[in-house]
Amino acid sequence: MLRYLLQRLLATLPVLLVVAVVVFLLLHLTPGDPAAIIAGDSATDEQIQRIRAGLGLDRPLITQFVIWAGNVLSGDLGESFFFKMTVSELIRQRLEPTLALALCTIFLSVLIAVPLGVVAALRNGGWLDRALMAFATLGFSIPVFVLGYLLMWLFALRLGWLPVQGYRRLSEGLWPFVQHLILPCVTLSVIYSPLIARVTRASVSEALTEDFVRTARAKGLPERRVILRHALPNASVPIVTVIGVGLALLLGGVVVTESVYSIPGLGRLTVEAVLARDFPTIQALILLSSVTYVLLNLLIDLSYLVLDVRIRYR
């Protein structure tokens, strides 16, 4: 088990290295002087000189990479000249809305999708099953921003039940916080939950054909207990996996959703940074989301140790 853990940890290193190289090269693939690009359009010559010296931009590419990677590892993500603050500070300020949005979406999606998937698996081939699969295809196809505007039009503009746009910090009170989060979360969940529901359905219906389910039924356990204690835990590995795979989808969806609902989070920051061609911020955001993705998938892989006894004893 310890060997599996170490192996898995080591396997993330090359991935992270490739991500770092790609992010680093992003700046150097741009035509023009990297120092001038980092400094942005309004920089003075003196600022450009300072950046060039600080990042060693006059030295060979490999040295530059080592300097840059060293800075990143020590927590120095550079400075945004467009936003006039360090990138780490910028990210810290914008973290809360995105974190709240992502966590609520995952929570809501799992809450909707897992029971739906289980019910669909129990009624394999029935109308509910087919409706769910159709809904899954639709959820996969409807663009986040189209759905976002549709929900906003209906629930905020027409019915007036919820605020149209914006975000309230948790410190401004629980109800305004939740109120502003409902529409964006529902929007993202419609995209995210069909994926989970489909896999739950497939995985649970497979578990239901196993011998231990028949045994559990034969010894007279109530159906509820058969599903909750026997079928679902054994079906959990693919479900947990897809939640992790879907995270990439969610990270992309956050960029669009935050733009639709004017939420000042990391997704909105990405858009602002790209439109301003603020490369230090763009680099940091790509790095951050990729590392998050890799680490969460590592966490999910490690969770198999808890979920699946067979892996533990391998």
């Binding site: 090359p14 991935v15 992270l16 290295l17 490739v18 991500v19 190289v21 790609v22 992003l26 693939l29 741009t30 295809t137 639709l138 996969f140 196809s141 409807i142 663009p143 986040v144 921003f145 189209v146 505007y149 549709l150 906003m152 039009w153 503009l157 149209v164 994926l195 489909r198 896999v199 359905r201 497939a202 995985s203 897809v242 990439a248 990270l251 992309g252 960029v255 669009v256 733009s259 639709v260 990405t270 858009v271 790209v274 439109l275 061609r277 490369f279 763009i282 955001l285 790509i286 989301s289 990729s290 993705y293 890799v294």
Partner: protein, 311 residues
């Protein structure tokens, strides 16, 4: 070598028969029929856009701005002439005819979708073939692909566009690059199983060189899953192009695309939601049609895929 040639021909003839059967199977599926038919209609409408459109999609006419769908008005042409005009889907904030813009926007979406699918598939196919066949290359290439896949696709596309500044070519390239690793993975896994087949062994034993071996014997057998993958790539590229346009990073605002239309329309979404809804509905229908076609083809052409349950 000549003596064995007819046998290999036979192998191909057999594959041809199987492919014909697959086509018939695919046409029997309802998702292929519905998806394919809607897509054919959309392609036709885009091809005929110059004739179906009732106005110049870029013609500004400030007097007629923000008209509701079905409004009748007189339109001032560039020549100064005035003509009576029905705005089937209303007009936008600059008085442009939304119906005509929608038709022309469809062209951009479809061109981007097909171009990205072709580009990423070709690149992925070549890389995947060699990765699956040359072990030493495999190790390096797949680590590279794993790394690329860890970067969320839309973020990579967005930063590439920022890097190159938006044009049709740069948007297509920026959307294609994040798709390549997925294609490489698919092709590689197919090649790994195909290379164990007896006919590959036979080809090796008669001294076929690696490159012709890959392109003549291995590649044709990866086609069915690749076609399925191509439809999915096409769908997500159409979506991606619209997202870039919507975020204000896509093609220049003057070009009528669905994303650009929605980006402009969102500024006055409160009063005139139709500016956003018409392109939104067409975008959804297009992506849905492509995905339906893909699902149908997956279920009929490639049983391996359908057993996986999800993509």
């Amino acid at each position: 070598m000549n003596a064995t040639a007819p046998e290999i021909e036979f192998e191909h003839a057999e594959a041809g028969v199987a492919r014909q059967g697959a086509l018939q199977r695919a046409l029997g599926s309802w998702s292929v029929r519905i998806g394919g038919a809607s897509l054919a209609l959309l392609v036709l409408a885009s091809l005929l856009a110059p004739w179906l459109a009732t106005a110049d999609p870029t013609l500004l006419d400030p007097i007629n701005r923000d008209l509701l769908p079905g409004a009748r008005a007189t339109m001032t042409l560039l020549s100064g002439e005035t003509v009576p005009h029905v705005f089937h889907m209303g007009s936008d904030a600059y008085g442009r005819d939304i119906y005509s813009r929608l038709l022309h926007g469809g062209r951009v979406s479809l061109v981007v979708g097909v171009a990205v699918a072709v580009l990423s598939l070709c690149a992925g196919m070549v890389l995947g073939l060699f990765a699956g066949y040359l072990r030493r290359l495999d190790l390096i290439l797949m680590r590279l692909m794993d790394g690329l896949m860890a970067i969320p696709g839309i973020l990579l596309a967005v930063s590439l566009v920022a890097l190159w500044r938006a044009s049709l070519v740069s948007v297509i390239a920026a959307l294609a690059i994040p798709e390549v690793p997925r294609v490489v993975r698919l092709v590689r896994s197919l090649v790994l199983s195909i290379r164990e087949e007896p006919y590959v062994e036979a080809a090796i034993s008669i001294g076929t060189l690696t490159t012709p071996l890959l392109f003549r014997h291995v590649l044709p057998n990866t086609l069915a899953p690749l076609i399925v993958q191509a439809t999915y790539v096409c769908g997500s590229a159409i979506l991606g192009e619209a997202i870039l346009g919507f975020l204000g990073m896509g093609l220049p605002p003057l070009v009528p695309t669905w994303g650009n239309m929605m980006a402009e329309g969102r500024l006055q979404f409160n009063q005139y939601p139709h500016n956003v809804f018409f392109p939104g509905v067409f975008l959804t229908i297009t992506v849905l049609a492509v995905n339906l076609l893909g699902d149908g083809l997956r279920d009929t052409l490639d049983p391996r895929f359908s057993r996986r349950g999800w993509r």
